[in-house]
C-alpha cells in the first residue's frame, strides 16, 4: 500500500491523470482511506457506501433487534442505549459496568431506560415506522443534518416500507424478528448517495477500470485468488462456463493494452499475515519489479503538509519545521550549551547507556511522551502497588517470620495497600489482573509470585534480621557522587530492600521487578545494581556489597528460583553469580564501565547527543520519543562506533 503511494508520488503525475483499480473494495478501501492521506494523496471512491455502514442505520437496526425480542436482557439493550448517537450519560455507563461485573445481579436499568423500553416493546408491525420516529424523538439522538445521515435515514425508512409491503404481498406473518433480519440483509446492499471529493485520485473496482486509458493505472491486488478470482461456490448451481475466468482474462487483456501506463502491485502477505502468491496472470510477463523500499518515508510524509512550515508552538510542528529547514538542531540532539553538572536518577544512567538520544529527550528536553500507552500505564500502576505491598510487608518484619506467619502477614499487607488505593480485590477484573499475587497465596504454592519470593529470600539470602526497606538517596542529600575530569554527576535513587548480614559483614541490595525486561536491557540492569552497591558501600563502611534483582511477574519465570538474580564483585568485575557462587556469567569490568561513563558524560556535556549504535529496531523499541527523534542524526555525526560497544559485547570488555 505504502509502496503504491510512493510510486504515485514518484510518478510526478497530477491526480487527474491517475487511476487506481483494486480487486476488492472491502479489502482495500479502508486501508487506502487511512494511509494515502498520510502521503498527501486524496482519493475518492466511485462506489458509494452501503446504508448499513452509516451510524444512524446501525442504531435503528439495534432498535429493531431489541423490539424483535420478547424478553430482552441488558446485553441486548446495551448496544442501543450505549450507542454514541444516543449520548449515554455517566450513570448509564456505570450501570453497564456494574451489570458486566455482576451478571448474576438482575438489577433493573435506570428509570429513563425502562420508560423508553415500555414504549418500544412489541408493537404491531405496521407501527414500526412510527415507533422509529418516537424512539429518535424520545432519546433525542444526536443526529447530524448532513447528506449522508439524511440519505441513510431515507434508505432505512424506504427499506422498512418495502419489507412491510413485500411481507403483505407474499403473505408473510407479522414477525418482527423476520423484519429485522430482512432489513439487515437488504441494507447491506443499499448504496446511499453521498457527497464525494471530485478532486481525489479515483479508486475503482476492476470492472470500472475497463476501457479506460489514464496516464497511469495502478492495479492493486494482483494476487492469486483475487485474480483470477475463484468461481463463487454455489452448491445449488452448475455454471455452463467459468464466467469469472473469462472476465478476468478480459481485464488483463485491457490492462496489457495500456503498456507501460499500467503498474501492477500485490502484497506478499494478506492482512491476516497469510502468504499470498503473485497472480498466475503475471507469470508470463516481463516484469520490472519495484521493491517496496524502506527509506525516505519522512520525505514523503512531509508532503502531507505540502512541504510548508507549520505554525504552532508544539513539538511536532517545531520538529517538522526543523526538518524542512534542513538544519540539524534541537531534534537532532544538538545543543550549544555546555553542562558540567548532571543531577540524575539512577534509571537515567540506564537510559543514557541504552541511548543517549533517549536520555536527551527525557532529561534535557524533558519531553513528556506524546501518547500514553495504556498497557504500560496499567503495568506501572500494578508495579507501584506490589512494591507498596512488599514495603509494608517488610516494615512489619515479614522477612523474618516463619512461612505461615509471613503468608498471613502478606495477605494483611495486600488488603491494606489495596484498600488504601481504593481497589476492590473482589472485582473479577482486578482479581484476574493481580492473579499471580492475590490468588493461591498459600504455603508451598507454585502459582503465587509472592510465595516464591519469600522462598528465594529464605534459600538464597543469609538474613540475620537487619534490613532496610525503600532506602532513598535523593539528589540533593547524600546522592551517589561520580566525578570525572570535567563533569560531576549526582545520582539519586531508591533501593527497594537492603539485607544486612552482620556476621559476614555483607549487604545485599535488592530491586523488585514486576515487569518484563528485554534481554538486552538486563545488561543495563547490571549498571543500576552496580551503582546501588557503590552507594551501599558508602552507607555501610567496612561491609562488602552484593546485589539482587527479584523478578516477580509470572510464576512460570520462577521455576527453579530463576526469578532471583544475584550479582557480586569478583576480581574487579561485577556480574551475575553462577550457581557455584564463585564465577560470574556476563559481567562488566568496573574500570571499563567507569571509563565508559566518563566518555559518555564528556560527550553529552559538550552538547552533542546521538542515537545508540545498536540496531535501530532494538534501540527504539518501547522508546516513548520514537515519534520525535530524528533517527538519522547518528549517521550525520559519524558516531559510527559508539562507545557503548566497549563493554556490552560477549559479557566482557573488548577494549
Amino acid at each position: 500500500m505504502i509502496a503504491v503511494a510512493k510510486a504515485i508520488i514518484s510518478s510526478g503525475l497530477e491526480k487527474a491523470d491517475i487511476l487506481i483499480a483494486v480487486s476488492s473494495m472491502d479489502k482495500y478501501a479502508e486501508l487506502i482511506k487511512r494511509l494515502f492521506p498520510q502521503f498527501g494523496l486524496s482519493v475518492r471512491f466511485i462506489d458509494s457506501p452501503t446504508a448499513d455502514t452509516i451510524p444512524v442505520v446501525t442504531l435503528l437496526l439495534d432498535l429493531l433487534h431489541v423490539v424483535s425480542l420478547t424478553d430482552p436482557d441488558w446485553d441486548d439493550i446495551a448496544p442501543l442505549f450505549l450507542h454514541p448517537l444516543c449520548r449515554p450519560d455517566e450513570r448509564l455507563w456505570e450501570y453497564d459496568i456494574f451489570r458486566r461485573r455482576h451478571p448474576e445481579n438482575d438489577c433493573p436499568p435506570p428509570d429513563s431506560i425502562r420508560a423508553v423500553m415500555k414504549k418500544i416493546t412489541a408493537p404491531d408491525i405496521n407501527e414500526l415506522p412510527d415507533l422509529v420516529d418516537a424512539f429518535l424523538e424520545t432519546v433525542q439522538c444526536d443526529l447530524k443534518d448532513d447528506d449522508n445521515t439524511v440519505s441513510a435515514m431515507e434508505s432505512f425508512y424506504n427499506t422498512l416500507k418495502e419489507v412491510l409491503r413485500d411481507m403483505e404481498l407474499l403473505g408473510f406473518p407479522g414477525d418482527i424478528r423476520f423484519i429485522y433480519r430482512e432489513m439487515c440483509t437488504r441494507l447491506q446492499s443499499k448504496n446511499i448517495r453521498c457527497k464525494t471529493h471530485e478532486n481525489g485520485i479515483p479508486v475503482v473496482g476492476y470492472l470500472d477500470s475497463l476501457g479506460l486509458d489514464p496516464k497511469k493505472l495502478f492495479v492493486m491486488g494482483m494476487a492469486e485468488g483475487d485474480i483470477p478470482r475463484r468461481e463463487t461456490g454455489n452448491p445449488y448451481f452448475v455454471p455452463d462456463r467459468h464466467y469469472s475466468l473469462i472476465l478476468n482474462r478480459h481485464f488483463m487483456k485491457n490492462w496489457l493494452q495500456l503498456g507501460d501506463k499500467v503498474t501492477f502491485s500485490y502484497a506478499r502477505h494478506g492482512e491476516d499475515g497469510s502468504e499470498q502468491q503473485r497472480s498466475a496472470f503475471l507469470e508470463e510477463l516481463r516484469l520490472k519489479m519495484i521493491s517496496a523500499g524502506t527509506s525516505g518515508s519522512r520525505r514523503y510524509k512531509l508532503l502531507y503538509y505540502e512541504n510548508r512550515p507549520i505554525e504552532g508552538n508544539f513539538l511536532l510542528a517545531q520538529r517538522h519545521n526543523e526538518i524542512l529547514s534542513g538544519k540539524m538542531d534541537v531534534f537532532s540532539g544538538q545543543v550549544r550549551e555546555r553542562r558540567n553538572i548532571f543531577q540524575i536518577p539512577v534509571s537515567a544512567v540506564d537510559t543514557l547507556l541504552a541511548c543517549p538520544m533517549r536520555f536527551y529527550y527525557d532529561r534535557i528536553l524533558r519531553v513528556q511522551p506524546g501518547d500514553e500507552d495504556e498497557s504500560a500505564y496499567r503495568a506501572k500502576i500494578a508495579g507501584t502497588l506490589i512494591h507498596a505491598v512488599l514495603e509494608d510487608f517488610g516494615k512489619e518484619g515479614g522477612f523474618s517470620l516463619s512461612e505461615e506467619q509471613a503468608i498471613e502477614l502478606m495477605r494483611t499487607s495486600i488488603e491494606k495497600v489495596f484498600s488504601e488505593a481504593n481497589i476492590d480485590r473482589n472485582d473479577p477484573l482486578i482479581r484476574d489482573r493481580f492473579r499471580y499475587y492475590i490468588l493461591n497465596l498459600e504455603k508451598n504454592s507454585k502459582e503465587n509470585c509472592l510465595v516464591s519470593l519469600l522462598e528465594w529470600n529464605r534459600k538464597n539470602c543469609q538474613i540475620t534480621g537487619r534490613f532496610h526497606l525503600k532506602k532513598i538517596f535523593p539528589e540533593d542529600r547524600c546522592p551517589l557522587q561520580l566525578k570525572f575530569a570535567d563533569v560531576e554527576v549526582s545520582i539519586s535513587g531508591i533501593i527497594d530492600k537492603i539485607m544486612i548480614n552482620e556476621t559476614l559483614k555483607n549487604v545485599i541490595v535488592s530491586d523488585y521487578k514486576t515487569g518484563n525486561i528485554q534481554s538486552d536491557f538486563k545488561e543495563y540492569m547490571r549498571a543500576q545494581l552496580y551503582l546501588y552497591t557503590r552507594k551501599s558501600l558508602e552507607m555501610y563502611p567496612g561491609y562488602t556489597a552484593d546485589a539482587a534483582y527479584e523478578q516477580i511477574k509470572k510464576p512460570k519465570i520462577h521455576g527453579g528460583g530463576e526469578g532471583l538474580f544475584l550479582y557480586t564483585h569478583i576480581d574487579g568485575k561485577f556480574g551475575k553469580m553462577k550457581k557455584n557462587g564463585e564465577e560470574l556469567s556476563t559481567a562488566i569490568n568496573v574500570l571499563t564501565f567507569h571509563r565508559l561513563l566518563e566518555k559518555l558524560f564528556s560527550l553529552i556535556s559538550g552538547g552533542s547527543y546521538y542515537i545508540t549504535d545498536r540496531t535501530f529496531e532494538t534501540a527504539c523499541n518501547y522508546c516513548p520519543h520514537a515519534g520525535l527523534c530524528r533517527k538519522d542524526s547518528r549517521l550525520r555525526h559519524g558516531h559510527d562506533n559508539g562507545p557503548s560497544g566497549l563493554i556490552y559485547g560477549q559479557g566482557e570488555t573488548n577494549e
Binding site: M1, L31, T185, N234, F237, V262, T263, S265
Partner: protein, 382 residues
C-alpha cells in the same frame, strides 16, 4: 391567470403534493395526457412510490393539471415531432475552485429548440410562488450545466401549471457568488480518463446510444466528448445493465425471490435462501443449471411468481422496448466485456434493428512487453 376548478384544489403540500407533482411529471414524460387511458399504470406507480396517499384524489388533481397543460401552447411543443426536445434529461455539471471540484447533478423537465433558440423549461405544480427565487436558481444552475456539457445557450422558463403562468428566468450576475458551497466556484470540467476522439466520426447529429462497460466508463466518455464540445443532448451514454431498467416489464426482485424461497421451503435458512435466489436467477439468465433436486422448489416459486403477476428477470431481456428504438437511432458498443448469454442475445437484437458500430477507446498497441510490478510486504504496512 385562468380561474375555474383550480380554486377547489387544495394546495399541494407534503406527501400528497409530492405525489401529485410526480404523477404529473410521469404523464408529461410518457405523453399520457389522457389520464383515464393510463389510470392503471399510474395507480400502480403511485401505490409503489407513495403508499400512504389516496390515489383517486391524486389522479383527479393530476387530471385537472393536465387539462390546463393541454390548453397551453406548450402542449403543441410537447407533441410536435419536428421540434427537437428532450424530456427528463439527466445531466451533471462540475464546478471548480483551486484544487476543489464539485459535481452537481440535475434532471431537466424539458429542453427544447424552438425557432432556432434553445429553452429550458421546468414545470411547477406548487399552489403558490413563494419558492420562486429558489426555482430561478435551479434554472440558472441548469443553464450553466447545459452550456458546460453541450455548449448550448438556453433561455430559462418556469411554468406554474396551477396558475397557468410562464415566468422567464433572467440572468443573475451574482449567481456564482451566492452558491451555497461558497464563493469562487466556476464551471470547470474535470479531465477525462478516456480519449473518445475515435467516436466523433460516428456522431453525426442522429440520436445515438453508446453502451459502455461501466457507469464510471460512461461518465468518462461523457466528459471526453464534452471537453471536445462534441457532447449533444441527443447522445445517450449508458451501460447494458442500466439500459435494462428501461423495460416496463414488472420483474421479481432478488429480495422477493429470496422471500419466496424462505416461504416455500420449510426450515430454509437465510443463507440457503440467498444462494438459492442467485442460483435460480443465474439459471433463468441461461448461465447454467440448477441442481436437479431443487427443480421442484423452482417450479413452485415460478408458479407463485406468475400468480403475483411478476415476470422473471430473463423476460426483461426479451422486452421489445429495449431494442425497438426510434428510426434513425444509432447504437455504439464500446469496450464491452464478454456478455452473458441473454445479454448477448439482447445485443444481437439491437444490432439487427439499428444502425450500429463497435469501438475501442484503448490504445491499439502498447508497443511494450515489459510492465512494472510493485511487490509489497503486506497490504497494510511494512
Amino acid at each position: 391567470m385562468n380561474s375555474g376548478p383550480m380554486e377547489n384544489i387544495t394546495a399541494g403540500r407534503g406527501e400528497a403534493g409530492l405525489a401529485t407533482g410526480s404523477c404529473y411529471h410521469w404523464c408529461l414524460e410518457y405523453g399520457w395526457f389522457d389520464i383515464k387511458a393510463h389510470r392503471e399504470e399510474l395507480e400502480n406507480r403511485l401505490r409503489e412510490e407513495f403508499p400512504e396517499v389516496r390515489t383517486e384524489k391524486i389522479l383527479e388533481e393530476c387530471g385537472i393539471l393536465l387539462d390546463r397543460t393541454i390548453r397551453n401552447p406548450l402542449y403543441k411543443i410537447l407533441n410536435d415531432p419536428h421540434i427537437e426536445k428532450y424530456q427528463e434529461l439527466s445531466l451533471s455539471g462540475w464546478l471548480g475552485k483551486g484544487n476543489d471540484l464539485l459535481r452537481v447533478n440535475g434532471k431537466i423537465d424539458l429542453l427544447y429548440r424552438h425557432e432556432g433558440k434553445w429553452f429550458i423549461l421546468d414545470f411547477k405544480t406548487d399552489a403558490g410562488t413563494e419558492n420562486l427565487d429558489s426555482y430561478k436558481r435551479q434554472i440558472r444552475t441548469y443553464q450553466w450545466m447545459i452550456k458546460q456539457v453541450y455548449g448550448i445557450d438556453a433561455a430559462g422558463k418556469l411554468y406554474f401549471v396551477r396558475h397557468d403562468r410562464h415566468i422567464d428566468v433572467e440572468e443573475d450576475s451574482n449567481y456564482f457568488d451566492d452558491l451555497p458551497q461558497g464563493t469562487g466556484y466556476r464551471p470547470r470540467l474535470p479531465r477525462a480518463r478516456v480519449k473518445a476522439e475515435i467516436l466523433i466520426p460516428e456522431l453525426n447529429g442522429k440520436k445515438t446510444i453508446l453502451f459502455c462497460p461501466s457507469a464510471y466508463h460512461a461518465e468518462q466518455v461523457f466528459l471526453s466528448l464534452a471537453r471536445q464540445r462534441m457532447m449533444r443532448p441527443s447522445i445517450r451514454i449508458t451501460t447494458p445493465g442500466k439500459w435494462l431498467q428501461r423495460s416496463t416489464i414488472s420483474c421479481l426482485s432478488g429480495d422477493h425471490l429470496r422471500m419466496m424461497i424462505l416461504k416455500e421451503s420449510i426450515n430454509a435458512s437465510r443463507g440457503f435462501s440467498e444462494l438459492m435466489a442467485v442460483a435460480i436467477s443465474n439459471t433463468e439468465l441461461s448461465k447454467g443449471k440448477l441442481q436437479p433436486e431443487f427443480r421442484g422448489l423452482y417450479q413452485r416459486i415460478s408458479g407463485l411468481r406468475s400468480a403475483a403477476g411478476f415476470a422473471s428477470e430473463a423476460e426483461r431481456y426479451k422486452d421489445p422496448a429495449l431494442w425497438d428504438l426510434p428510426g434513425g437511432t444509432k447504437v455504439g458498443f464500446i469496450d464491452l466485456q464478454p456478455p452473458a448469454p441473454l445479454q448477448a442475445e439482447l445485443e444481437e437484437h439491437i444490432k439487427e434493428k439499428t444502425e450500429h458500430f463497435s469501438a475501442s477507446l484503448l490504445p491499439r498497441s502498447s508497443g511494450t512487453n515489459s510492465y512494472s510490478c510493485i511487490e509489497a510486504f503486506s497490504p497494510g504496512k511494512k
